[in-house]
Symmetry: C2
Subunit: 137 residues, 2 copies
DNA sequence: CTCGGTGCAAAGGGTTTGCATACAT
DNA sequence: ATGTATGCAAACCCTTTGCACCGAG
């Protein structure tokens, strides 16, 4: 949101390194804390607050994705294009899955007069590895 | 979850009143705080901790629904059957919408070997009333 | 009588914010 | 030079938890 009014956004080293950390995270979908760890290897004096501020800014600008997970901390995603997620309720592993267009919900919302600007679907369950260790201990 | 093994769950007045408060909340989808307010009219000495404990228990038993909203507090839903939600990012109004079966995501998750046990879809946007006050101030 | 539930208050975790300083523009 | 971004630490919000007492079974 507020992607439009960006008067004097400055490009700092911290911003670059945070973006790079998310982009280089592969399928990990790191939390702010994890990003902080990674970034500290490059900029040992960066603060957690700055990491949060930059993650927020990058997400608002659409350069990265932010995945909200109930009860756990927000996870960040190098892939900003629209897609859904699966999270393992045992180990917290977060996977991308293809987006499902919520046709019925969208119809209902606009029928009610609401404007829908985004949607997020989260699948919950037990990942392959956690199923394995649960069945053969 | 854990609906089965409930050895000595006791039925207390507090539990009853919390359940009733959620059931009587109509379309409000109250937060724990709101439930606390409502319940206090009946049991002035109840504590917020007890409200949280009972909401958690009722949701675990499937008697009420819990809707996790990114960045905001959890909202509770008298309707436990499966459905999705729309939330207004301006005023926080939360509406029920019909469930959308996330076919593509489910397929991808099971192809990856994961077991999906539930899914939650949240539509975000601006509700009718907030659109109105935005366009004609 | 038992032991699960309660009230209270304090702790918890993730995230945000106020402030003086540093630095991109 | 101007004012945004930073580092630091404290504050914040929602939720959970430890403990002694209470009360449902």
């Amino acid at each position: 949101m507020d992607r439009e009014r960006l008067p004097g956004r400055r490009r700092t080293r911290q911003l670059e390194v945070v973006l790079e950390a998310v982009r280089d995270s592969g399928v990990e979908h790191p939390s702010a804390d994890r990003v902080f760890e990674r970034v500290r290897c490059v900029l040992p004096r960066i603060s957690l607050g700055t990491v949060y501020r930059n993650l927020q800014r990058l997400a608002a600008e659409g350069q990265i994705g932010a995945v909200d997970v109930a009860g756990r901390s927000t996870r960040y995603d190098p892939t900003p294009h629209e897609h859904d997620h699966f999270i393992c309720r045992i180990c917290g592993r977060l996977d991308d899955v293809p987006v499902t267009r919520p046709a019925a919900g969208l119809r209902a919302a606009s029928r009610a007069g609401h404007l829908v600007t985004s949607h997020a679907l989260l699948l919950r369950g037990v990942c392959r590895d956690c199923r394995r260790s649960a069945t053969s201990p």
